[in-house]
Amino acid sequence: MPASAFRVAAVQSALRYEGRDAAVERVCERIAEAARTGARLIVFPEAIVPGYPAWIWHLRPNLDGSAIAGLYAELLDQGVTIPSPATERICKAAGEAGVYVVVGMTERNAEASNASLYNSILYVDPSGQIMGKHRKLVPTGPERMVWAQGDGSTLKVYDSSVGRLGGLICYENLMPLARYALYAWGIQIYVAPTAARGELWLATLRHIAMEGRVFVIGCGFVERRSDIPTRYAFKNDYQPTMDEWIDDGDSAIIDPEGSILAGPLHQAEGILYADIDPAQMTSSKWIFDAAGHYARPDVFRLEVRTAEHPLLVVDDGVDGPGVADVPG
């Protein structure tokens, strides 16, 4: 835990449908900008590289099937392999700025079929190294038609020089057991990249801040009708009840007492900043500590399985299962 106050940033980007490389460049520009303003941890929205597939909430699998297949192929093509030149570019920006970066992305499963996708967040440290990634455990509603479910191996809390860092993506934040695991691992800074917005989402962020006695960085994106390229046929009848603002953003940074330090940033692109007082990470636990003095381990026993579940384990009959894959 750092001794003195430090600054964090939530970058509320716009959904632009410009593809992976353009999205990565924008991420890198915002990393540099937020770092110049003094941020030591910079958080980006859910799936912002190459962009959240918002069309999945709109199109009908039967009636719009061919359009969806094309959009899925494009999402695969623009998906991010970890590691790859796209992640190296982000790592370089983080390293040059000397900051922690958390970026939401659609991740391609390069380790297996290379044709499925995960909703992931990538963690990068100030030396430009990948700390790890988290694959969303359960995609929400129609998201299940484009994203697969991550296994337990990516549910983690990372040590960092600004505190113990971790998080969940969008409606994963409504999974009590996943949150409890993070609390039990001592999370202090909780990132919540999301596509959700509005008063109810803000209520969820405040609830989690007070339940976990953590700083919560909720980071969403905005979506403007005018940003949807005309080459997408769905633009014509997309969300007809809404005008220009299809997603309002509403990123917010909350302290462990549930107070809103910054935001919600509504219907605007921009960067939210907040100065975090690390003393609150511990003092707020006096009243409540979900996986400590306010737990009942005699009543509740939670088992979490964090084993990796590879899609294929190769047993070549020589060295035992899987060893052929060990490098070196």
Binding site: L137, V138, T140, G141, Q149, D151, G152, L155, Y171, L174, M175, P176, L177, A178, R179, Y180, A181, Y183, E199, L200, L202, A203, T204, R206, H207, I208, M210, E211, G258, W286, I287, F288, A290, H293, Y294, A295, R296, D298, V299, F300, R301, L302, E303, V304, R305, T306
Partner: protein
């Protein structure tokens, strides 16, 4: 209800935001009966009361020093004497009025077992059915902060949902609503109405209740303690030590009773700095459809990664093994 009748899903619930008569069980029960009659007269079939209604939330724990041995001892004595012993049928008048008016009643009490030591109190939520029977007794699992000096931690034998004419009812008391595992246990038990009596009169409570409703996809019925210092009886022991002398303020007990639907939208309240009864018409069928997008212990869960075991066995301090009666 005759078997041929279609069950009705629409109900009026009443949330009581009135003070009790501290340390006077009989007067408090009379007040409760009057309030139940008033609510039933408005068509309510569920009447819910705030935390520790019988016979009063122990605010004195937060305003006295344990170092004054005689002072807390005297207050504790009054607290224990005015508590409710279920085995002694102290709630007889409530059971009677429930039967007479055909209503379900959620009544939080300070609970004592006079046939045990008679010196320990639990923070208990009692649910009484329209037949006058006690359907459930949930003892708060963890008391909060200074409360731990006056309330013992309960076992989890009441951590369950019960069938009522309104649907499956569960409940947690005050900060228990920040316990992810306790809430998960009720979600998994199919709760459709969640009772959340509290004494936490801050605006964050509304945010918690909205999050809880959305996470449980259940109706949240949350009665909150609300009183002015002038509502505390003038002869309250050691009132002079508690720093509110002559004040007509609401202290930190400003209410905030609220009813929230399974989507997380507020349907009644929050009621601040007022006494009264909050009414809401709820349709318990709503809970089912709202689970399309999220069902925290169902399709939005990962039982392959998380496995929760809940020990709901009744804990008894002593088991006496005696001679058979014919040998005495």
């Amino acid at each position: 209800m005759r078997p041929s009748e279609t069950p009705l899903t629409r109900h009026i619930v009443a949330v009581v935001q009135h003070p009790p008569v501290w340390f006077d069980r009989s007067a408090t029960l009379s007040r409760a009966v009057d309030l139940i009659r008033e609510a039933a007269g408005m068509g309510a079939t569920l009447v819910a009361f705030p935390e520790a209604f019988v016979s009063g939330y122990p605010f004195w724990l937060f305003r006295t020093t344990p170092d004054d041995w005689d002072v807390p001892a005297e207050l504790y004595g009054r607290f224990v004497e005015s508590a409710v012993d279920l085995a002694g049928d102290d709630l007889g008048p409530i059971r009677e009025v429930a039967r007479e008016l055909d209503v379900t009643i959620a009544l939080p009490v300070n609970e004592v077992e006079r046939r045990a030591t008679g010196g320990t109190v639990f923070n208990t939520l009692v649910v009484i059915g329209p037949n006058g029977a006690i359907l459930n007794r949930h003892r708060k699992l963890v008391a909060t902060n200074a409360e731990r000096m006056a309330w013992a931690p309960g076992d989890a034998s009441g951590l369950k949902t019960i069938e009522t004419p309104l649907g499956r009812v569960g409940g947690l008391i005050c900060f228990e609503n920040l316990m992810p595992l306790a809430r998960y246990a009720l979600i998994a038990a199919g709760e459709t109405i969640h009772l959340a009596p509290t004494a936490y009169g801050y605006d964050a409570w509304t945010a918690w209740m909205r999050h809880v409703a959305a996470e449980h996809r259940a109706w949240v019925v949350s009665p909150s303690v609300a009183f002015r210092w002038s509502d505390v009886p003038a002869d309250f022991p050691h009132a002079d030590l508690m720093g509110y002398g002559g004040s007509d303020d609401w202290g930190s007990y400003e209410g905030g009773s609220v009813v929230v639907d399974p989507w997380g939208e507020i349907v009644a309240g929050p009621l601040w700095k007022e006494h009264g009864i909050l009414y809401a018409t709820i349709d318990t069928a709503t809970a089912t459809g709202s689970r399309f997008i999220s069902d925290s212990a169902g399709h939005y869960d990962r039982p392959d990664l998380f496995e929760l075991t809940v020990d709901r066995r009744t804990r008894r301090s002593t088991t006496y093994l005696d001679d058979p009666a014919d040998r005495v």
